[in-house]
């Protein structure tokens, strides 16, 4: 390829990280091409379905007026399932009905990413779909371009932003990261279930465009380290489960069978009843967090989004927002490097500093011990849900037994199954893990 055809920057992957990077670069007049292995942005992209949009609203103000977003989330619900019951914390507020709608939207990624790609192209970036980057081209330890399949074409550039997702082949090629181990990588499967709008709104108690997000632990994933989820779209539900590959493997579980088990739980079945399965998908989630972050830059290369492992795997379950923010910060770093005419690691390392200063790494840092705390204490998600539901089942059971006796029996059972000292210890450890 001739020198004239060289791009300033090549972005690998048209997801939230890659597209946000490309949009920021294009707005600054940087020549950028996005290479996407699917037939269109979104063709390969899957997430549970909540898009957090603080970054998007800055990039495309009032995006909700034109973007194919589904519902804004006004109702959050966290629960644990036992084998036959459920205990929940349920929160809803009309305060989230005002712009910017708490920056929390349900989306279907194949639709949303395609729209986002269109905006990025309009801003002047080139998106090349149907092209998989098989290899980074190196010249004396410096990344100078990419090789693509099919065809084996080589494209040259000053800098590559790798936003290739959870399967970080390119980051592994240049030694920035090792293949993940199964304890810090989750597999998630999901179904989109079609349902009429009025059924969704009455079944989930929603006004007009309001949506809800249910995160469900315990028996949702058969006591493994993971959770189930259920989100409302306009005319469909996104329902799924995810757990670490380590736990799935150890317990000899098949992800689809765990999802079926979840769908048929007595607390979940009435929510999906009568729906029509529209699509089934699977995806991995890098959950290593702050302590497993790779080196984020090298000469001519920056890692962003899932490829960098930017997922807040606490109860916040945030990934898309971190991906978008990292894409913007990567682009700002490239813009500064271009002005300086220097794409060396020393210059690009500014990216890490920017990330440390933003919510991206501040949040990952805050929760870095939280995942490990749950991994080290499997009884919290495996045994506590059954005990909690069992205690409440006894407490609310109506009989001729005097209430004083019931209270004593329930308290005795609590002391035997959980124990005051143990629960105090677990709560203290949980608090410590998020300091």
């Amino acid at each position: 390829m001739s020198e004239e055809e060289k791009f300033d920057c090549i972005v690998v992957g048209a997801g939230p990280a890659g597209l946000s990077a490309a949009l920021t670069l294009a707005k600054a007049g940087v020549e950028v091409a996005v290479l996407e292995r699917g037939d269109y942005p979104g063709a390969k992209n899957v997430m549970g379905g909540i898009l957090f949009t603080t970054m998007l609203d800055k990039l495309i103000p009032e995006f909700w007026k034109s973007a194919p977003v589904e519902r804004h989330v006004t109702h959050r619900r966290f629960s644990v399932l036992s084998k036959d019951g459920e205990v929940a914390v349920d929160f809803k507020t009309a305060a989230y009905n005002e712009p910017p709608f708490n920056n929390t939207w349900t989306v279907l990624r194949a639709k949303f990413d395609r729209w986002y790609g269109d905006q990025v192209e309009e801003a002047g970036a080139m998106i090349i779909p149907g092209m998989m980057v098989s290899e980074l081209l190196l010249d004396g330890g410096r990344v100078v371009g990419v090789k693509t399949e099919p065809g084996g074409d080589e494209l040259n550039c000053d800098c590559v932003i790798v936003a290739e997702g959870a399967n970080s082949f390119l980051a592994e090629q240049v030694g920035l990261r090792q293949p993940h181990d199964g304890k810090h990588m989750a597999v998630a499967v999901k179904e989109v279930i079609g349902m009429p709008q009025d059924v969704i709104e009455s079944r989930f108690h929603l006004n007009d465009n309001e949506g809800c997000a249910y995160e469900i632990f315990g028996q949702a994933v058969q006591g493994t380290f993971g959770s189930g989820f259920l989100y409302t779209n306009k005319e469909s539900l996104s329902i799924g489960i995810g757990s670490t590959i380590h736990d799935m493997k150890k317990n000899q579980l098949n992800p689809n069978e765990v999802l079926e088990h979840f769908k048929n739980h007595p607390a979940i079945a009435p929510l999906v009843r009568g729906g029509e399965s529209l699509e089934y998908s699977a995806h991995m989630i890098p959950e290593g967090g702050y302590s497993h972050l790779p080196k984020l830059t090298m000469d001519g290369l920056i890692l962003a989004g899932d490829a960098a492992g930017l997922v807040n795997a606490s109860h916040y379950h945030e990934g898309s927002n971190l991906a978008m923010a990292s894409g913007v910060l990567a682009a700002e770093t490239v813009i500064a490097a271009k002005e300086k005419g220097d794409f060396s690691d020393a210059t690009l390392a500014q990216y890490r500093t920017k990330m440390e200063g933003s919510f991206v790494l501040k949040d990952l840092k805050k929760f870095q011990k939280f995942s490990q705390f749950l991994i080290d204490n499997p009884h919290l998600l495996r045994d506590y849900p059954d005990s909690m539901v069992g205690l409440l089942t006894d407490y609310f059971r109506i009989s001729e037994k005097p209430k004083a006796q019931i209270e004593k029996e329930v308290f005795d059972r609590f002391k035997k199954e959980i124990g005051i000292f143990n629960i105090a210890k677990d709560l203290y450890k949980a608090w410590r893990a998020t300091r």
Binding site: L108, E149, V187, I245, Q252, N256, S281, A282
Partner: protein, 105 residues
């Protein structure tokens, strides 16, 4: 309503089996496989996790030969096999433009 009147129950449109679910997914299959299995190492492995951990049940045991058969055209491209069974599975992305094309995602 008398007891002998049977109300027809509409067949559930929810899918349960993996075969039914994969039928919902749009694919553009390549002619060449993007997955390789080292059969000797697979045979030597006692757990054979790849047979159950794949969300698309892409891998199946050939009872006669003991080998692992790969229906690569069913792959949902999550990469779980690559993490769970790296000793004997070599998994790459399909070539650009091939494989799964999600309509909802």
């Amino acid at each position: 309503m008398s007891d002998d009147q049977v109300v027809p129950v509409e067949e559930s449109k929810l899918k349960a089996t993996i075969e039914d679910k994969l039928f919902l997914v749009k694919y553009k299959p390549d002619k060449e496989s993007h997955i390789e299995v080292d059969q000797a190492k697979f045979k030597a492995d006692t757990l054979k996790a790849v047979l159950y951990i794949c969300p698309a049940k892409t891998y199946e045991l050939n009872e006669e030969t003991g080998e692992c058969m790969v229906a690569f055209e069913n792959c949902l491209e999550c990469g779980t096999c690559r993490i769970a069974c790296s000793e004997y599975v070599e998994w790459k992305y399909p070539r650009g433009g091939f494989g799964v094309q999600f309509r909802f995602g």
